[in-house]
Symmetry: C2
Subunit: 616 residues, 2 copies
């Protein structure tokens, strides 16, 4: 089939249909973005070259060890060192050599100073090839971004620049065995230990859990960013999150000594196995830097600022999680579409004597493919839209525009993290269904994508936590101003769709979903008991996700329609019509769910909250 | 917590809350069923003893090797023999020793002659402990049931009775590499080879795919039931399914010779690993029984009857698949409830100085538990209701009642197979979410249940195939008479709920869903083009599933209400109120989805069917 892009003419595995990024970049007007002062040294050719390079790396270095990295998990040896698959080490090195770790950083930090949206596309390509391997990049960039925002110049030079160059990798160490979502309860202690060129020095002692890339042999050094508390005068840790500070704790100290950081164990995961996930002990005495136990660390910024600082990193990591969900869904769509084009089975009509047809001819397979496309491209559109907001927050022309982007991004972050994560799982469910029994075997990658993505609704704040963030904070802030701003943007798109055949119905569905959501927000804002409001967190989050994705689909469809009428468009008509169909499918089959999720909110239902524990 | 039943006083793992079965047996009036002539040798005490025995076996023999059977997959050795984990062999032997293989068979066949609903509960208990191991039972009973229905006396004695005794295990061999769902395309040939005491003998040659328990060392012999075609006078196989016949092909022939059946390979599955899944070659010459190649087999019944005969087995197997989905969901609920009762994290309100609370106190965790309960117990109710119909089909007092049960069961079989399979996956998704990061590791069983259940929407006919069965056959048959009968039963339950506080609203939701579904059926029956109707198969199947589960929940809630008003009830009030709450939750949060799924049907949407392949 001419539209099957999986195998190129030269027989190389093709994991990306570049038309998708070309279209989304056009829709989100990346060319104009590139004219802003921060990016004007760059141009569209450079951007395309970087994305192409990522495609080559993804296909040549990352996708090639996808199955191997699942079969051969990271190993912890008797000396307490973690070894990863050599192919992972090699691939991360290639990503570093390509300069991808430095894409969003300033030129004077050794970066390429490119927009976030371009970095998102680049990282997304790598994620769709091998999520675990690409995650070394994600964490390291987020770590270095935090340092360049909050650390001193000496700290940045010592600990961020090697990460920007891809010569050291980063982690974030938040959770502890008894403190997962509830970070105020952490017990890791940081005791003052003097001061040196990198600032106030401390000795840290405590156990951290769920540390991705917590140890490995990909790079010699690892830069841990660790949340800990400094004991008060009475030697006790104060409860709550207001006393959490942030510390840089490198695996190898600047003077070359090993730090007192030990791997307590590896977590054996359902998927996502190219990257190790560790329990780490800080200060258990495994090493004795400068003759004493305790992990040596330097405080970043001021005491008690750990959580707000970490949240910058978390918020960007949340967008990256959404990106990975979107890209696994995109990859799953490609695999099941290609399978459906090749696999012969049954007949659409006619007699048994006729040859079997490709299963893409069966309506139910088409339905699943359409659902996969609506979810995966809808998710990708949402994530790139958010990445563009991140660029606008930093580089938009006016302070008002920057502030507006920041407000919108804060509102959309829980949606951008959750919606792709949760719906990618359904999309990948369809990818397995289309493969039939074969999809359940390790002979096909869809089962692996399904296992890999299953972490996404959990890490960087579960779906439930995102719901609490949305309903408890983001929707309430400034009396609901952020949502009002979003609603105005949505209405503007609906108005543009008026009178346009095929899209008018979509506009009506978006408008209906918006009206439901506005009514629900009114109920939530009027609710005096925050527990009642929080009980609706997840359904409200799902509803907002559908509303926003439906809106962005409509906006994309308007763009596709525009290109259809433009004879000079680089996009062929079936590609554009396919996008419009995916938009219509989403509006018809998915958007009506918004009111189902919101019904219990509008009825102020207490069925969940009033359930006594004894009934379970 | 007093309601946590996972660990008994003696410290033994408890995988079943027997109150669930006590309640469902009361609701489905098993005591009255036991008074029927076929079952009157038995009584409730015997039934309870069998279910208790299954609980002991499940806890003591099956659950104990759940993780091991996932870690150590079945192995194919160089001699072409499949070895399973020794614990699997031991557990299947214990199930056989307990007489469970013979539960539903006649006493003169060596069976216990117990109702299907009791067998379903018994098998369900074993499935919740270890689905893969329990599946040896499922397949063998289905195989022997087919033989006792269709095979000759000599065939039954030779091939069914050892299975009823659990001394040989059975398979069904339908699919071939190029013929999965499209069985009319099978190419396995059966050539006449004389006649003996077991009937017309044939030599079979062909490749079969996806054969669960296709080879193993659990029992010395394996009884394969194989679909194949007898060539016509021209030596060719006729296309289509009308020429498919059914053959008994034992691994070891009655005279002790090895048959010409070879394992071509093992499928490496995402889960469900206690039971091997094989590609089998028949007649490749690996063995030469009586000096010639070709697998020796005997035809069951008449030529061309293979598919209808196999469908009896398939229909019962489909109910068993639904059962396994329900029971994995039940197990997932128990595990996440117990985790939520023990895991301390965060606070509901108050200050950070207060101790952390069990996460079951958080509204979003409660919401997920309630959803899990509504799904898992709703699914179990649906499956046991269908098993009861299977009993009624055979033993109801009047021919009319038997015929009505058969009609209803035929209509509900695609729902009973699909609904628990699909929704269990969502229920287990919540079970993982409640465990947080821990749920994604192999330290907890929920990730394994999630992988195990993922096969259920695929095997024994994918969800898409079930949708085609429902829309293309079951709903159309006799001008929609079966659905009209179902609708009358649903309305009767709704009427019983009138005026009952707390359940009136549920009745209204059920009534609304029913009205939507009736309207959709009218559209489907009037649709002249069957392709258009079939394109809506899966959404219609989902809608009927929700409608039926909602109806059965309402019926269960009426029963719970009855017990609440009965001082002599054996059930405590929180148990009963918990059931009523799960019913209300389902009505409030799930039933409104019925109209969302049906909207495109009512609008005769062609968005899926009209999509050209070039758009994908």
């Amino acid at each position: 089939m001419q539209n099957s892009r999986t195998i190129s003419l030269s027989g190389v595995l093709m994991i990306i249909d570049k038309r998708d990024f070309d279209f989304l970049f056009a829709w989100l007007d990346v060319d104009t973005l590139l004219n802003r002062p921060r990016f004007c040294h760059s141009d569209r050719q450079i951007v395309d070259a970087v994305v192409s390079l990522a495609c080559d790396l993804g296909e040549g270095e990352l996708a090639t060890h996808l199955r191997a990295s699942d079969m051969v998990e990271p190993q912890l040896n008797e000396a307490g060192q973690v070894h990863v698959l050599p192919a992972v080490t090699k691939a991360v090195g290639e990503i570093a050599d390509a300069g991808i770790f430095g894409m969003v950083f300033d030129e004077d930090e050794g970066g390429l100073q490119l927009p976030h949206i371009v970095y998102a596309a680049t990282m997304g390509v790598l994620m769709s090839a091998n999520l675990g391997t690409a995650s070394f990049l994600l964490l390291t960039v987020a770590n270095a971004r935090l340092l360049t925002s909050h650390a001193s110049r000496a700290q940045t030079t010592q600990f961020a620049l090697p990460q920007i160059a891809g010569e050291a990798l980063g982690t974030m160490c938040l959770s502890e065995p008894h403190a997962g979502s509830s970070l105020g309860d952490i017990r890791t202690r940081a005791v003052p230990d003097g001061r040196d060129e990198f600032g106030d020095r401390y000795r840290l002692r405590g156990s951290k859990m769920w540390i991705s890339a917590g140890d490995h042999d990909v790079t010699p050094n690892i830069v841990h960013l660790v949340l800990a508390k400094v004991p008060g005068a009475n030697g006790q840790l104060e409860p709550g999150s207001g006393t959490i500070s942030l510390f840089i704790v490198p695996k190898i100290l600047p003077d070359g000594q090993a730090n007192d950081v030990a791997v307590a164990g590896l977590n054996h995961k359902m998927g996502y196995r190219a990257i190790p996930n560790c329990a780490l002990n800080f200060g258990e005495g495994r090493a004795r830097p400068s003759g004493a136990d305790g992990a040596v660390g330097w405080m970043v910024g001021k005491p008690g600022q750990g959580l707000p600082q970490m949240f910058q990193m978390m918020n960007e990591a949340r967008i990256s999680v959404g990106l990975s969900g979107a890209m696994l869904a995109v990859r799953g769509y490609q695999l099941s579409r290609d399978y459906a084009l090749e696999r012969l089975q049954g007949r659409v009509s006619g007699t048994a004597a006729e040859p079997q047809v490709p299963i893409i001819e069966h309506a139910d397979v088409k339905r699943m493919l359409l659902a996969q496309k609506a979810i995966s491209q809808g998710a990708l559109g949402l994530v790139l839209f958010s990445a563009r907001l991140l660029d606008d927050e930093k580089t938009a022309e006016t302070p008002e525009a920057r502030s507006e982007a920041a407000t919108l991004l804060a509102l959309l972050t829980p949606v951008t993290k959750t919606w792709p994560s949760e719906w990618a799982q359904l999309s990948l469910h369809y990818a397995l269904q289309i493969h039939g029994g074969a999809g359940y075997t390790r002979d096909h990658d869809v089962e692996l994508l399904y296992r890999d993505n299953r972490l996404n609704p959990i890490h960087e704040g579960t779906t439930g936590i995102q719901g609490v963030d949305l309903v408890g904070r983001k929707l309430r802030r400034d009396g609901g101003a952020a949502f009002a701003m979003l609603a105005a943007r949505i209405r503007a798109t609906v108005e543009r769709a008026e009178g346009m055949t095929g899209l008018e119905g979509v506009g009506a569905q978006v408008e209906m979903a918006l009206a439901s959501f506005e009514a629900a927000v009114a109920v939530l804002l009027a609710e005096p008991d925050s527990r009642t409001a929080l009980a609706h967190g997840t359904p409200v989050l799902f509803a907002l996700g559908h509303l926003v994705v439906g809106w962005l689909w409509l906006d994309q469809a308007l763009e596709a329609r525009h290109f259809l009428q433009d004879d000079s468009s680089a996009f062929d008509a079936s590609f554009l019509q396919g996008r419009i169909r995916a938009c219509r499918f989403f509006a018809e089959c998915e958007l009506p769910k918004v009111s189902v999720w919101l019904e219990p909110v509008l009825a102020s239902s207490d069925i969940v909250l009033s359930a006594p524990v004894s009934e379970f």
